[in-house]
Assembly symmetry: C2
Homo-oligomer: 723 residues x 2
């Protein structure tokens, strides 16, 4: 098939997604913004979110500027070693020396990095813009017309980000690849530029998740502890000084942070598979191999857009159903299109070279793969769905684990915590078995490309899953606004119902995020090993084991940094809220207005200060270890972070989710209901779970991929190291 | 040097240690048992501990009987594949086919297993016997003569177990090796029998730690939560129905369970190094290589006995000092003896073959090692001490982390928990860096043997360190007995001082346990790979990565099982204690006696029921994975459990220790003192930490080694598996 036609088609689809996002944004703005009180509260949230993102982005701009320059200079002067074009002649991958100079290489990588960074910021930003406009309108729609219209506004608001994420993600990648191909760059080298693009997206995602996560959870923890427990005022009460910061947090953490996060996941899964394609296909078919991977991605975006048309609420019906229908339609359509794509690329696919690992000399042999890539994609989709369902089982109050945590809350704070930790740890069992089966079977059917394609399959319909996911915090915010502006109790009931659905979809989405992080990392890891000129990484070597345990430690240490940051920031916030209650006694009887701004400022400053160290750790460690100890030790380290990081991510996501829902279960009146000792214990669990599930947990997914991507970009330069 | 002389010397030293233990036990019995009330309380504890161990050992006997028969039958019929004597002809290790039959092989392995199991039980049992006799006598000595004599009794009581552990451990190993050598068994095969011995010790250790840990922590948690928080009575109050179970728990968990645990650590470190010796020396010097490792172990036992003479308390002096002096004398003497041993075995050592991992074909070349083994031993000692010091830094109230947790308790239960978790996670940073440095440097100096010897060096003076460690629970129990039998407050003050020292030494000992588990596992792991006929385990293979993440998951899943068991048992106990307070209102005003027995029974039944599943998981998984998926996937799995398990072990040990001491810090009057909200929050942290630091954490150390030992024993039979 013609390269130009496919790439053009892709750009049209990407622009289509962005256009659709813009159309939806206009639609959202057209809804009624609500009464004066609603608009006032909403404007506080908007201002806070805007102010934080502006401050955060300023810090990030400095990082981008420095990193872009460092990459340019490093790649210019280190051309010979970093490009791997000359030093890697001993690997099996035949790389043709191009006529392009070091300047071109340095410019290409640094500009790709820049593009990835900026598009990631853009995805987060439009998500936040849309969410802060949709929240008040969702509340108003719930008040004026009920559930169906509220669902409509919230889902449209979420879809702006869903479509923005896949649109920006794909567009940037296509720009990098189209220019590379137009300039006749070798496909293998083009993938290096794509990895630069991914590196940009990944590092911004880490900043966004960590920074946004610290912001939102510090406010959330403080609002809960002082407001609910000490002052005894309900959630989202306007008298709580931290309440605006809490609501701002939803928009900068759960929306903007998540947007950058998912753009990163989406992009890196495609690049992981494309890198595999560049490695496993014969030289003649390498470019077609990359195009095949891209075509699969296009099919996913197209399917997501179509699927989103099917989301339509019906009065009296569970909103979860219509969201599910949209997702199913997308997935079904995607499967059909992926099947067709596999058929169209059959010639290319059958030129895939199978890397036989059991042969020490790593010979590749050509075997017929036929429809195997399609099978691998289906495996990926199935793995994502299954892991998501297990997450739901462990975190939904319909099943025994959450019920048990709620029950254990009756015997106090400690038994609530012990039950939650045990549940989170146990919840890694089935997802990991599913994941291992997925890895082995996708490899069995499709070789290394199969593993990469499984990750792409898992995230193929990200357009719609992100929309569904982003809808959650909008509904949550709408509830907060309804409460704070004193709308009728029935409004809150509607938003609560919408929000509850959001919690479940968020749990499922986390399953996808973890599964795809694992699959993508394996693909990137395999690419790293080959680019580093290694034929294998032998775990029996003491130095590799040393790397392995250091990698495992990094996952724990990184988590400790992030959790501690939330704790510190929350502490500061708690003291501030207590101070306001103490010095302004009029707050509690509505005669004085709390100082919302100070709370927002505390969260902002804490987030900006605390997000630097974890990010540096993630970026500097692989580079240092690679240069000092060599590619083998680094490989061990990456494997250690991968293995332990996945466990921590699952543990934290599910224990956090379970604690949250156990508290909600008690609030429905079970085990003593609101105000009981059991309820207090359950609030403790929920509070501990906050930094777990919304800050540390999702950040680890990014950490794993970011470390592997950096290693891949610098792979050829590492060599054997000093030991 | 003559084999006979060395082995005879070893047997004399091992019997000497046992004789010394017996002598100390008689000494302990000669002290005054105390007044009637003390004797009554003490008899309850004795009865409870005896009854539990009897029940526990009954379950374990069934396991031993079944496992011995299974091993016999399996090894008899699977002789050709399991022995590896015929199938492994492709490895570099030259194994001479002996004339001994399958019957001999099966009998040898199963009897070694039986011996390891029984000696492990014996070490735990005498520890418990000694501790339950020393506790009342320590309290009485404190009452009658003060600190010095109390320290004397408690340390003598602890030394019975310390000397028993190394005496039994070494004696059994020497029996296995002496018989093998007397029958002219090839040294390489003799090591297989030794591995069988280690397997017996490891599986009993797992039962002991998990069973004992569940018993003691269920009672501890319940006694704290209902007694301290709900009924408002002090710790160790005789009115608390769970108080006897709590004190029994110290003896069956922290003493008997720890005894089996440390016998296992000690034995497996020697066997790990001896296996390396069998692998890396030339055929002619192989037997001498094993003798060298044994000689190092003898030097350690001898040094420990001498060092223990130097432990003498002085009135008005910190008891920590004299314990330290004893440890230092032992370590110093050991270093001198190890140096001499290295000199004596210089010819053997210089026949060591260096396995060059960077050479894909794994050629071995002979290089001169000289004094390198000695250096590796010193590295091991240093690593152990340094990790111990870091543990102390993170868990002692003298340093900032514990102070911070105490401070965070002021803002409630949740911030206490968050701070403790962050501290525990962070505490993995330095130990892992130390460990990685130790692995790389001991390998650099001494090759694979160096890594094995580092583990031996770390545990060489186990005789004295276990004595110091076992003294802690005796002092703790003495305090309990003093409280319950209404002795003067000054008695409790003395025992509290002794107990506080015990907490610090326990934290340091945990550092040694973790460090040696890692080093030993690496040695056993390397032996496994070679015995399985593999030249390397390539982490770049998707199936190995699948194994890696499954292994990482096992560490989490195992922890969840153990923690949940404690939670369940504690819950049952809480309800029982509440029931007694409710139905027997006379308990609180001393007119009714609580039903201690029922609480002991609840802990006993829970422990016996709940210890089965984790043990089966640890034993069955490696065998299943090995046979179904082959040695490579199993290797990945072992590496995953090793890496993630070490982190969990450190995390749990240190967060648990830090919570415990933060609570104690508040109880001294800081941050509001006893009864304050901060104190309540700190009790929550302490309670969550209980199953962490005393059940799950130490069990994981055993899990890692047990899984690797099983894999090593069956290694030759696994083959490539089904995928």
């Amino acid at each position: 098939m013609s390269t130009t036609i496919i790439l053009t088609l892709g750009i049209i689809i990407a622009l289509g997604a962005l256009g659709y996002a813009f159309y939806l944004y206009r639609k959202v703005l057209a809804f009624d913004e609500g009464n004066e009180k609603v608009r006032e509260i909403s404007s506080y949230i908007k201002e806070g979110a805007n102010a934080f993102l502006r401050s955060e982005y300023k810090v990030i701009y400095s990082y981008i500027a420095i990193a872009t320059i460092v990459i340019f200079v490093g790649f210019f002067y280190g051309y010979d070693s970093i490009s791997g074009l000359t030093s890697n002649s001993n690997t099996n991958v035949i790389i043709e020396q191009t006529e392009y100079s070091a300047l071109f290489f340095a410019l290409g990588t640094s500009l790709s990095f820049l593009l990835g960074s900026l598009f990631s910021l853009a995805a987060g930003f439009i998500g936040m813009k849309s969410a802060t406009n949709a929240n008040s309108r969702t509340a108003t729609a719930a008040e004026q017309s009920g559930m169906v219209k509220a669902l409509d506004v919230a889902f449209k608001g979420g879809s702006v980000m869903g479509m923005g994420v896949v649109g920006f993600g794909l567009l940037g990648l296509l720009i990098v690849i189209s220019i590379s191909f137009a300039l006749n760059v070798d496909p293998y080298e083009a993938i290096t530029y794509a990895a630069g693009y991914s590196l940009g997206a990944s590092s911004i995602a880490l900043f966004g998740r960590v920074g946004g996560g610290i912001f939102t959870k510090a406010a959330d923890v403080a609002a809960d502890l002082v407001g609910k427990i000490e002052a005894g005022i309900p959630e989202d009460d306007p008298r709580n000084p931290a309440v605006i910061a809490d609501n701002v947090g939803d928009n900068v953490g759960d929306v903007a942070g998540m947007g950058s996060d998912l753009l990163e996941s989406y992009v890196s899964s495609i690049i992981g598979a494309a890198t595999m394609a560049a490695l496993v296909f014969t030289a003649a078919e390498r470019m077609n191999g990359i195009l095949f991977v891209l075509t699969i991605a296009f099919a996913g975006v197209f399917s997501s857009i179509i699927g989103s048309f099917f989301v339509r609420g019906k009065e009296g019906k569970n909103p979860f159903k219509t969201l599910k229908i949209g997702t199913y339609v997308s997935a079904g359509l995607f499967i059909v299109l992926a099947f067709i794509a596999n058929l169209l690329f059959l010639d290319t696919i059958n030129s895939e070279l199978f890397i036989d690992h059991n042969d020490v000399l790593m010979n590749m042999k050509q075997i017929s793969f036929g429809m195997a890539p399609f099978i691998s994609i289906i495996i990926g989709l199935a793995v994502g769905v299954l892991i998501g369902l297990v997450s739901e089982y462990y975190t939904s109050s319909d099943y025994k684990h959450v019920k048990n945590i709620a029950k254990q809350s009756q015997t106090g704070h400690a038994t609530n915590i012990i039950a939650g930790i045990a549940t989170g740890m146990e919840s890694s069992l089935i997802p990991v078995l599913i994941l291992a089966t997925g890895i082995i079977s996708s490899y069995y059917f499709g070789g290394l490309l199969g593993v990469g394609l499984a990750a792409v399959g898992m995230l193929s319909t990200a357009g719609i899953t992100v929309s569904v996911d982003a809808y959650g915090p909008i509904a949550d915010n709408a509830g907060g606004i309804a409460e704070m502006s004193g709308l009728d109790k029935s409004v809150r009931k509607i938003t609560d119902k919408l929000d509850a659905v959001g919690n479940t979809t968020a749990a499922i989405e986390k399953g996808f995020a973890i599964g795809s992080a694992a699959m993508t990392s394996i693909a990137l890891f395999s690419a790293f090993i080959r680019k580093a000129g290694l034929s294998a990484i032998d775990i029996a070597q003491p130095k590799v084991i040393a790397g392995l345990i250091v990698g495992a430690m990094l996952a724990f240490f990184f988590s400790s940094l992030v959790i501690r940051s939330v704790g510190k920031a929350a502490n500061e916030m708690i003291n501030e809220v207590r101070r306001q209650f103490r010095e302004m006694p009029g707050i509690l009887n509505y005669t004085q207005k709390p100082d919302y701004k100070r709370c927002v400022t505390i969260s902002t400053n804490a987030a900006l200060k605390e997000m630097i160290l974890p990010a540096i750790l993630a970026i500097a460690t692989p580079i240092t270890v690679g240069f000092v100890f060599g590619a083998e030790v680094l490989g061990g380290m990456l494997a250690g972070t991968l293995a332990t990081g996945i466990m921590l991510a699952i543990f934290m996501a599910n224990s956090g989710g379970a604690w949250d829902n156990a508290k909600k279960l008690i609030e429905t009146g079970e085990y003593g209901g609101k105000g009981s000792e059991a309820h207090k214990a359950s609030v403790t669990g929920d509070t501990v779970g906050d930094p777990f599930k919304d800050t540390a947990g999702p950040s680890i997914d990014i950490l794993i991929k970011l470390m592997t991507t950096i290693s891949l970009v610098f792979a050829a330069a590492f060599g054997m190291g000093l030991i």
